[in-house]
């Protein structure tokens, strides 16, 4: 039942770890998030050091997102063009974010900024998504009651939106939207900066950005987000393994055994749920994590010391 992890230097119940991978992989397939914001704290709870938990999680997200991307690619849910722009922006933003953290670490304000960014971003995203999807679900119910036919979430916009005046207007066929190429690039930079500051892949930020700012249909959002996360986490895994020696390969294997199956099950489940139901579920999970972090910040911890590294 137990397996020793050579880099984390601890022994874990492998069935428990596979189970964690399955649960988080399920969310990954359902919502298009990497699940780093959930998995890293869960791994820390079972005794994995923070730096190793974060780096190894990136490694297992490569597997989960590859599995999810493959499933969504078959379903025609990946907008490669949009994904590429977001990815380029994300890489640039990530580099800027890492630099900001370096400066803040030198001046001593990094931990405070990280925690506050976490709470604010998760809180804002979760609350907004929750009320927006609740509103949409109520509207559909009302419409169904009036017999106005079956509501569906697929957006029909062509949309230049507020940023229609920008150059490089491009039609994204798969998503059915028109934007300036600078919009996904800029949003990619924005999410990349925040993701680097928070030390996560940024899926839970990228998904709302795609839904609400890029006006992409929910199912294309999930596939495209996974496609982008796969590349981001590949880069993070290599850098963490090469520079910090914090990737535990055995732990990643245990997690990915669960997560690759979980991602497939999540994709199938996602097809059966309505877009707004998916959004409200993700919002509830994001808000639950926010409450947990707020409680951790307010309540006195039982141990007042921690090893260096990690958040």
């Amino acid at each position: 039942m137990y397996m020793y992890l050579p880099i984390a230097l601890t022994s874990v119940n492998y069935l428990l770890v596979v189970g964690l991978g399955l649960a988080v992989g399920l969310l990954s397939g359902l919502f298009g998030v990497g699940g780093g914001f959930l998995m890293t704290p869960l791994l820390m709870m079972i005794g994995i050091p923070p730096t190793i938990a974060a780096a190894t999680d990136a490694n297992q997200i490569v597997a989960a997102s590859a599995s999810g991307t493959f499933a969504h690619w078959r379903l025609g849910n990946v907008d490669y063009k949009m994904g590429l722009y977001l990815l380029i922006g994300g890489f640039l933003g990530g580099a800027v974010g890492v630099h900001i953290i370096k400066i803040l670490r030198a001046t001593g304000g990094a931990d405070f900024l990280i925690k506050i960014t976490y709470v604010v971003m998760l809180g804002v995203v979760g609350t907004f998504m929750f009320f927006e999807s609740l509103h949409a679900l109520r509207k559909q119910k009302a419409a169904a009651a009036k017999g106005e036919g079956k509501a569906h979430s697929k957006p029909t916009q062509k949309n230049g939106g507020l940023l229609g005046w920008l150059p490089m207007q491009t039609f994204f066929e798969k998503s059915g939207v028109t934007h300036s190429a600078l919009v996904p690039l800029g949003l990619g930079v924005f999410v990349g900066v925040l993701a680097a500051i928070m030390g996560v892949g940024g899926g839970f930020l990228m998904v709302p950005v795609m839904i609400y700012m890029l006006r992409m249909p929910m199912h294309v959002v999930v596939g495209t987000s996974l496609f982008q996360i796969m590349f981001t986490c590949t880069e993070v895994t290599f850098l963490q393994a090469y520079s910090n020696h914090t990737v535990d390969f055995l732990l990643a294997i245990l997690l990915l055994v669960g997560s690759v199956f979980g991602a497939q099950i999540g994709t199938v489940l996602g097809r059966k749920l309505h877009g707004d139901q998916l959004k409200i579920l993700l919002a509830v999970i994001v808000l639950a994590v926010t409450v947990k972090i707020v409680l951790e910040l307010i309540l006195e911890p039982s141990l007042l010391l921690a090893y260096k590294g990690g958040h």
Partner: protein, 262 residues
């Protein structure tokens, strides 16, 4: 005549030496120790190990067994309230000259065995760690006693520090006593060599001591992966990525075959 005196003198000297040896408080020959196993291999299924420490305790004294590592420096972060509201990591704190592992067992309550000053001299009990440790912090006005106590609490939570009194079994046989201590070695302890020191205590004094060591080392795939991660980090990183991607795509293909996804 001279030879006769010489023989007699040698006989007296020999008897005196034997008497000293047998009836002195030291009974240096009487205390021994051995640990089984001497080497603990960390393999893939490692989850700590059963360790047995036993030996001769001829004078049937009370015993204290200390298992510890060489003192080292522990570099950590301390938590405090930022802006008077949020608990978070505030700055650096280092504890110098502290063991990474410190496990203590005794045949009776430590207070009843040795006075506090004697315990500190012998490195027995958390007081001795407090007395020997030094603290360095990035902030001023931090009470060393409070934070060294926090450090001990942290290590106890990790199961790397602990004191268990009354756990050594003394076995009185017809001629000489024996002792035994069975413990579960914590898997949290890092690979390394640990010293096992056995002290015999009588009338508030340490009258004898014996020492052995225990080695914990990685073996097999655990050792190979560790070497790869630290000595060939780029290869290790690429393997980690390739395996993850291959697993992801393979399961994706498997589901397609099974018709799980449409």
């Amino acid at each position: 005549m001279f030879t006769k005196f010489a023989i007699k003198g040698l006989a007296i000297l020999y008897t005196a030496l034997i008497s000293c040896f047998l009836f002195s408080g030291g009974t240096a020959w009487a205390l021994s120790t051995e640990v089984t196993p001497r080497n603990i291999p960390i393999n893939l299924m490692y989850h700590g190990a059963q360790v047995s420490i036993k030996g001769e305790n001829g004078a049937n004294d009370d015993l204290i067994i200390k298992i510890s590592s060489e003192p080292a420096d522990a570099h950590m972060k301390y938590k405090g309230k930022a802006a008077g509201l949020f608990w978070m990591k505030m700055g650096d704190i280092s504890f110098e000259h502290v063991p990474t592992v410190y496990l203590l067992y005794s045949s009776r309550n430590l207070d009843s065995l040795l006075q506090e000053n004697e315990r500190i001299t012998e490195g027995i009990g958390f007081e001795s760690i407090r007395a020997g440790a030094k603290m360095e912090t990035s902030a001023a006005d931090m009470d060393p006693d409070r934070w060294i106590a926090e450090f001990i609490k942290f290590k106890k939570a990790e199961k790397l520090y602990g004191i268990e009194e009354g756990t050594i079994t003394k076995i009185n046989e017809t001629h000489d006593g024996k002792y035994q201590l069975d413990i579960k070695w914590p898997y949290q302890a890092a690979p390394g060599t640990y010293t096992i020191e056995v002290l015999a205590v009588r009338d508030g004094n340490v009258v004898d001591r014996a020492e052995t060591s225990l080695t914990v080392a990685r073996t097999g795939i655990v050792e190979k992966l560790s070497n790869l991660a630290f000595n060939h980090a780029a290869v290790y990183g690429i393997i980690s990525i390739v395996v993850a991607m291959a697993a992801g795509f393979a399961v994706g293909a498997l589901f397609k075959k099974g018709g799980g996804a449409h």
